[in-house]
């Protein structure tokens, strides 16, 4: 029995003369160190990472060294075997293993994910109904129509705990239940909200493009559950591929008899129409969306009456988001308990996020509810590029807020996000690093809502505009501490008095950044300084006279003629004339100009 074993890979690729000599060298060095009775050298089979060979493994700890050279052996013996310290520079680097990680499924990005809504995206050919059927497509509709009563369908969705993935998180089953009364006696509608408008969000587009049949099937199930015979998908005209795939899928379903009259030989009939939206953000709001389908100007109206009572064409209507619908068929097929086993206590299932911003792996990820932000950012997202520090993440787009670095370990679900002043939103997740100015971010989202306010109600139309002016005052260096109070007062007023969700949530990015990054606002106001170096009006450009060679490149590039100096002598910037465009920094070859 030995204390340690050194296994030198002698597989086909590594097993050349070099690895033999490495094994011999280990025997020599081990003898020299007086460890012959304690350590045995083995010539093992292939370790499976041939690209990194010659490989050496030390057991029982299982440490794996790669690219080991003859001259490294003495160090490995002295450090690892004698002192018990790992030699970091020789440790096997997982990421470098080009010969083992050949498929996406093996990457850290993919392994942490759980794909329910996206189960078919990137797997099947979205233009083939047959491939959809091969992956259990339309089996949920068959099950619902032939073996479940409408009430059982509603109860299953209710019991699953599925909540609306469009942002607010209202229980989907409850929505269906409210609309389920009086079946067969009144006209009812099922609508799909595919009016995805948050900057940086593309979850719904991906589902429609990659798996259009799942939305069609789920809408048919919903129609059966509430007793509707007609459905509308409200999708943006600026999603041409999604519209094309959906149109094709509807045609295929019709010709297969999966849409139309007497589906699966029952007396259930369902027809589906596509309604193209012109890309107004407000049309993602349910009452505005239905008004738009009716052919009128897309403006919201007060609730109640709720759509379940009086919706599209004044009929009871349910409206579900694309991702919500993408969860329906697996729930019907696998049962409510299967679904509610995933996620956190009050937020069941998974959530799709569009991961973007300052992150290594941008993309579309689906994780169980309750996954922490740290897992998403560091493990799936691969961390922040260029060694920068994580500062915050924005969720919920223009309706949401930010999660600061101090809360990175919070499990993400509907209720946790609300409790820290943001919201789930439809799933945009924008990561920000230390170079991001939080006042500027608040301004970015507010500019968006000012643009997109439909103008029907005054708190939203005028209020958001005034709020933006206050933020501009701060980033221009004209802000006062009283402005912060005014911002809070105005924000509260807009939230409580706006007609629809757009206005009611518009101040959230401002309030959230003010809550967690008040210091940054104060720094802008009191010291007229932007800590992240983003707000242009607050920047100062200076030339280091020691580094400046007087090459005149900056002076020639300056559009405001703010740089003065004679050739071969250090130049200076006239701050009164400087427009802070940064053109000089780009031209300077001596790194003499700084911005702070």
């Amino acid at each position: 029995m030995y204390r340690s074993y050194v296994m030198v890979c002698s597989g086909q690729t590594c097993g050349n003369t070099l690895s033999d000599r490495i094994a011999e060298e280990f025997e020599v060095q081990i003898k020299l160190a007086g460890l012959r009775q304690e350590v045995q050298v083995l010539r093992g089979g292939c370790l499976g990472i041939c690209g990194s060979g010659p490989n050496v493994a030390v057991f029982p700890e299982g440490t794996l060294y790669s690219h080991v050279k003859l001259e490294d052996v003495a160090e490995l013996v002295a450090e690892h075997l004698l002192k018990g310290k790992k030699v970091n520079r020789l440790l096997y680097d997982e990421n470098e293993a080009t010969n083992t990680v050949r498929s996406l499924s093996e990457t850290a990005f993919y392994k942490k994910q759980m794909r329910v809504a996206l189960r078919n995206c990137g797997v099947i050919n979205p233009r083939s109904i047959e491939e959809y059927i091969a992956r259990d497509g339309y089996a949920a509709l068959e099950k619902a129509l032939t073996r479940m009563t409408p009430d059982e369908v509603v109860e299953t969705v209710l019991a699953s705990g599925l909540r609306g993935r469009g942002g607010a998180g209202f229980p989907t089953g409850l929505k269906w239940k409210f609309a389920s009364g009086n079946r067969g006696n009144v006209q009812k509608y099922v609508c799909c909200n595919a009016d995805e408008g948050d900057p940086g969000a593309f979850m719904d587009r991906s589902v429609l493009e990659g798996d259009p049949h799942t939305v069609i099937e789920a809408m048919a199930v919903a129609a059966y559950a509430i007793g509707a015979d007609t459905g509308y998908v409200y999708v943006r005209a600026e999603y041409p591929v999604a519209v094309k795939h959906l149109t094709l899928a509807i045609e295929q379903a019709k010709s297969a008899g999966l849409l139309g009259k007497n589906i699966f030989g029952t007396d259930f009939s369902f027809n589906l129409h596509i309604k193209l939206g012109a890309g107004a953000f407000v049309c993602g709001e349910e009452t505005a969306l239905m008004t738009s389908i009716e052919g009128k100007r897309g403006e919201p109206h007060p609730r109640p009456p709720f759509p379940a009572v009086k919706g599209l064409f004044e009929s009871p209507t349910i409206l579900n988001n694309v991702e919500t619908l993408a969860n329906i068929c697996p729930i019907i097929l696998n049962g409510a308990e299967w679904f509610s086993a995933m996620g956190s206590e009050k937020s069941k299932g998974t959530k799709v996020f569009a991961l973007g911003g300052k992150i290594k792996n941008t993309g579309l990820v689906e994780v169980p509810m309750g996954t922490t932000l740290r897992e998403i950012v560091e493990e799936i997202g691969g961390g922040i590029p260029n060694g920068k520090a994580f500062k915050a993440a924005q969720t919920g787009g223009p309706s949401g807020g930010c999660i600061p670095a101090s809360l990175i370990d919070i499990p993400i679900d509907y209720d946790n996000l609300l409790s820290i002043g943001t919201m789930m939103g439809s799933g945009g997740l924008i990561v920000m690093d230390e170079d991001t100015c939080m006042v500027d971010i608040a301004k970015f989202f507010l500019e968006f809502t000012v643009e997109e306010s439909c103008g029907k109600c005054t708190p939203c139309r005028v209020g958001t505009k005034r709020l933006l002016e206050l933020l501009n005052k701060i980033t221009d260096g004209r802000g006062t501490m009283e402005d912060l109070d005014r911002i809070e007062e105005l924000a509260a007023f807009i939230k409580s008095n706006s007609l629809c969700g757009l206005g009611q949530t518009a101040p959230n990015p401002v309030l959230s950044t003010l809550r967690y990054f008040r210091d940054e606002y104060v720094e802008h106001i009191v010291h007229r300084h932007c800590p992240a170096g983003v707000c242009r009006e607050l920047l100062q450009y200076t030339i280091d006279p020691v580094k400046c060679h007087g090459c005149t490149a900056c002076a020639r590039a300056c559009p405001a003629h703010a740089i003065v100096g004679s050739p071969k002598n250090p130049h200076t910037i006239d701050t009164a004339k400087c427009i802070k465009c940064g053109g000089c920094i780009e031209k300077c070859r001596f790194d003499a100009i700084s911005r702070h």
């Binding site: 080009t98 498929s103 995206c121 990137g122 091969a134 587009r205």
Partner: protein
């Protein structure tokens, strides 16, 4: 893809379509290599249509009609688009990233025809 002409009226009808289609979805059962290109908006924006066309042309020129070349949706790895995945019966799946029409030709020649995956184009090489 041909649109489904026959009406689907029962679970048995669904089963028949499933049995008929599974081999093309799962090369382990079908025996035909399957190549999918991410042709969602993100892929197209990164040039995936050109990659798809190049694969199609090269497969035709090499007379490799048994290879199923198909579009698919978003695989979710934006910064790696265009993405091409190759499934060959009896082999693990290979994910090629940031594929260009030139790389596509090599994937056909070296991997699909020659049987050797092009390691330097795979996702592992780009991580």
């Amino acid at each position: 893809m041909k649109s489904e002409k026959t009406k689907i009226k029962s679970l048995g009808d669904l089963q028949r379509v499933r049995t008929r289609t599974l081999p093309q979805l799962d090369p382990a059962e079908g025996g035909h290599p399957r190549v999918v290109v991410g042709l969602a908006t993100c892929g197209i924006a990164a040039g995936a249509q050109g990659v798809y066309d190049a694969l199609q042309t090269e497969l035709q020129q090499q007379k490799m009609q048994d290879v199923l070349l198909l579009p698919t949706g978003c695989i979710g790895i934006c910064q790696f688009e265009p993405v091409v995945e190759v499934f060959i019966p009896g082999q693990p799946k290979t994910t090629y990233v940031r594929v260009t029409p030139e790389k596509a030709v090599r994937i056909v020649d070296q991997h699909l025809k020659g049987g050797n995956p092009v390691a330097e184009f795979t996702i592992g090489a780009r991580q």
